[in-house]
């Protein structure tokens, strides 16, 4: 699967580099999602918990497309903000099966939205309500309500339920993100 193909194609025309920051609590499925987005040849089988962060670059002939996969562990979350300034888009991954920690995800999102490098920018944010395959997972509507997404007024945002193990729902999200970056840059 090559879900970022379209995005890369478009970026190649523009000859620009797009930095996408992928954040979310630990174990929400960020690395798994990014692995799915990579060209199939580059995909890895085992995903281990990310320490600090990983930078994934998908290069095509003249374009570098960079995803920063941040560690979600509490002690590394303070690293996120150093990458806000250079990010053109943010992917925020939520584990919709972890009801207890939705408040923690909301707290981290609120801090992100109030950060000076994010606050006044029209930076698109894509939310994945991941692990939608789990038995008693929350629906994307419920996740959006609990995260207070309706309060985000000055940024384009979009939420889709996803299953990173199968790739379900990822395409929809990436399509949206691609449109957003295009409209912002043109």
């Amino acid at each position: 699967m090559n879900l970022f193909h379209k995005l890369s194609n478009w970026l190649r025309l523009k000859r620009q580099e797009a930095n996408v920051l992928c954040v979310g609590l630990d174990n929400s499925g960020k690395s798994t999602i990014i692995n799915q987005l990579k060209p199939s040849s580059a995909q890895t089988q085992d995903i281990v918990p990310t320490i600090g962060f990983c930078v994934e670059k998908f290069s095509t002939s003249s374009l570098t497309f960079t995803v920063f996969d941040m560690s979600g562990q509490g002690r590394y979350r303070s690293l996120w903000e150093h990458y806000y300034r250079d990010a053109h888009a943010i992917i925020f991954v939520i584990d919709s099966g972890d009801k207890v920690r939705i408040v923690v995800a909301k707290e981290e999102l609120d801090m992100l939205l109030h950060h000076s490098d994010v606050k006044h920018r029209r930076i698109p944010i894509l939310f994945f309500a991941n692990k939608s395959d789990l038995q008693d997972s929350l629906s994307s509507v419920k996740v959006s309500q609990m995260m207070g997404l309706d309060n985000i007024k000055n940024k384009p945002w979009h939420i889709c339920a996803s299953n990173a193990l199968t790739g379900e729902g990822l395409q929809e999200g990436v399509d949206w993100l691609q449109d957003q970056i295009r409209s912002l840059k043109s």
């Binding site: 509490g74 979350r77 303070s78 009801k99 207890v100 920690r101 939705i102 408040v103 923690v104 801090m111």
Partner: protein, 586 residues
């Protein structure tokens, strides 16, 4: 999920996120029956609860994952304590659960019953045994059995078994069937477990193999082998233990701190069979928590005491309500430790030493507190309420606890030690001298003091005798006078205010005379009579003084109030003249 509903009762900038509140979780338990453990070895910590239920039955071992109940097992009797511990080295390293209940410890592995440990039986009263064997052979009827047992109960050293005690409570008609039902079985006497803890065997690792440590109703502490459940060590106490904290390693060095029902805390160590230290509390303990090396005890008198592990009391804090439960907040990844105290006023207070650093207001009275890793979150606070509710809060990543932000009472600076300088040689010499010559010094001081008093008394008498004061004390002519000097000089106006202070007697035949240095001052008249003084009125008498010197010097002018026919003046006033500031005109 009702996280946002209860925002209003929490402080605006709370340090906690409201992750979950279920008022009808049906959990009735205490801090001693709650543990957090990664039971499945999947990196997700579960909540294990020994639920006392709300009726006589309904006792359950419950496991929660996230917001929902994962499994439950029925318990046969009320749980008195629950711990998670590693009993072997097997992989995966998943902990077992031990539930203390009556005289038994039920051990669960992978949430399945694995082993049941029974406390060793106690010695049975020989007489009691004898009577029951007679009953078995139908030699005595239930009535005389009752009488004999009552006799034994009142005198014997060894108390009666539960069976005999139950029998003694029965009504007459139930006795026969009770005897027939039980007489064939041997008599057993057993004690029950009052508290349970864990003690690492010989390694300090988080997941090292641990022994169970139990306290019993008959005032003993047992340490059990982790795998064989044999008794490794037995220590006697002067009273029944109620709360226990265990630290150290069994094979190396350990410390067991127990709060007992006699209101004392005993500290036991590896090398002694008897308590090493004893702390006497002024009221009964209701909770015991160890923070690093110090012990924090909550007492019934709404107090919290801090003590060292050697039994020395460090501090006492007074609480606004009585304590319901206590728990340790040990945030390992941040190196933060505090004591959480659940109070009867539906608040949980967080103390670092004696400083109150945070207050959590809750929807109901908290009966159990457990802080640790729940799910994947390190800073989770799990609490259950009196009404059976479950509250989960998560410490904010950005939360910092300011030592002084909510502390009532003495400021932190008060406990800062002053840098008192060393004693000098002079100081030491003086102290020595004072010590050696104390008597002589005291005598010298007393003599000087008497001399001073004598001199003062003499001067006072002299002043009275010569009427040197501006108040006349003579009973016949009570007078008061004050003088005011006006002007810059060389001319001054001198006003004498004279008042008769008697109630109704007018003063007559009075005169005023001035005494002054004639080289310095001149007065128009230095002697004149004063008219009759009506009692109570103020008579201002003016006279003018001319200063004759321009050298900037001044002197005293004395005023005498005289009565015609008396040689002593009635009053004397000394007027300190100001320096003349103007040019002498004459």
């Amino acid at each position: 999920m009702s996280g946002s509903e209860n925002k209003d009762i929490n402080e605006v900038n709370s340090k906690w996120l409201d992750a979950h509140y279920d008022p009808v979780a049906n959990l009735y338990t205490f801090s001693s029956c709650v543990a957090l453990a990664d039971l499945n070895g999947d990196g997700e910590s579960k909540l294990v609860v020994g639920d006392l239920g709300s009726g006589a039955s309904n006792m359950k071992l419950k496991v929660f994952k996230g917001t929902s109940l994962m499994t439950e097992n029925t318990l046969l009797d009320l749980p008195t304590g629950l711990v998670a511990f590693h009993m072997d080295q097997n992989e995966p390293r998943t902990p077992a659960i031990a539930v203390a209940s009556g005289p038994f410890i039920y051990v669960y592995k992978n949430l399945r019953p694995y082993f049941k440990f029974t406390l060793p039986p106690l010695e049975v009263n020989e007489l009691e045994q004898e009577v029951w064997s007679q009953a078995r052979e139908d030699k005595i009827d239930p009535m005389s059995l009752k009488e004999m047992l009552e006799g034994i109960r009142n005198k014997a050293q060894v108390p009666l078994s539960v069976r005999s005690l139950k029998f003694l409570m029965l009504e007459h008609q139930d006795m026969e069937s009770f005897v027939n039902m039980h007489k064939q079985q041997p008599i057993r006497r057993q004690t029950v477990i009052t508290c349970i803890g864990t003690l690492k065997k010989n390694m300090a690792d988080e997941d090292a193999v641990s022994c169970l440590v139990i306290g019993t109703e008959n005032m003993e502490i047992y340490v059990l082998d982790p795998e064989a459940f044999t008794i490794l060590s037995k220590i006697s106490l002067p009273s029944t233990p109620a709360f226990m904290d265990v630290t150290g390693q069994f094979d190396v060095e350990f410390r067991i701190t127990v709060a007992c029902r006699n209101g004392n805390i005993y500290i036991l160590r590896r090398d002694s069979k008897k308590p090493k230290y004893c702390i006497e509390l002024s009221s009964h303990a209701v909770g015991l928590v160890r923070v690093n090396k110090n012990i924090v005890v909550g007492c019934t008198q709404e107090t919290l005491h801090g003590c060292t592990q050697k039994g020395k009391k460090l501090w006492t804090t007074y609480l606004p309500a009585s304590i319901v439960t206590m728990g340790l907040m040990d945030h390992k990844s941040r190196g933060f430790q505090a004591v959480l105290v659940g109070l009867a006023n539906s608040e949980v207070h967080m103390y670092r030493d004696k400083n109150l650093v945070n207050i959590i207001k809750t929807q109901d009275v908290i009966t159990s507190i457990c802080f640790g890793k729940y799910g994947r979150e390190d800073g989770s606070l799990i609490m259950t309420t009196k009404g059976g509710g479950l509250i989960i809060k998560i410490l904010k990543r950005t939360a910092v606890f300011d030592e002084k932000d909510t502390t009532p009472g003495p400021p932190v600076a008060q406990s800062v030690k002053l840098n008192v300088p060393k004693k000098t040689k002079l100081y030491v010499d003086q102290t020595m001298r004072e010590r050696e010559n104390a008597v002589a010094m005291h005598r010298a001081f007393q003599m000087d003091l008497y001399r001073l008093r004598l001199t003062a008394a003499r001067a006072y008498v002299k002043a009275l005798e010569s009427n040197l004061t501006p108040m006349s004390s003579s009973a016949s002519e009570p007078l008061k006078m004050n003088a005011v000097v006006q002007g810059l000089g060389p001319s001054f106006k001198l006003t004498l205010n004279i008042q008769n202070t008697s109630v109704c007697r007018p003063s007559m035949n009075l005169a005023i005379s001035f005494w002054y240095d004639e080289k310095l001052y001149s007065l128009k008249t230095s002697f004149f009579k004063i008219p009759l003084l009506v009692p109570g009125l103020n008579y201002p008498i003016d006279t003018f003084v001319e200063c004759l010197s321009d050298k900037g010097i001044s002197d005293v002018i004395k005023v005498f109030v005289l009565q015609i026919g008396r040689s002593n003046p009635l009053l004397t006033a000394h007027i300190n003249m100001p320096v003349s500031e103007g040019m002498a005109l004459c």
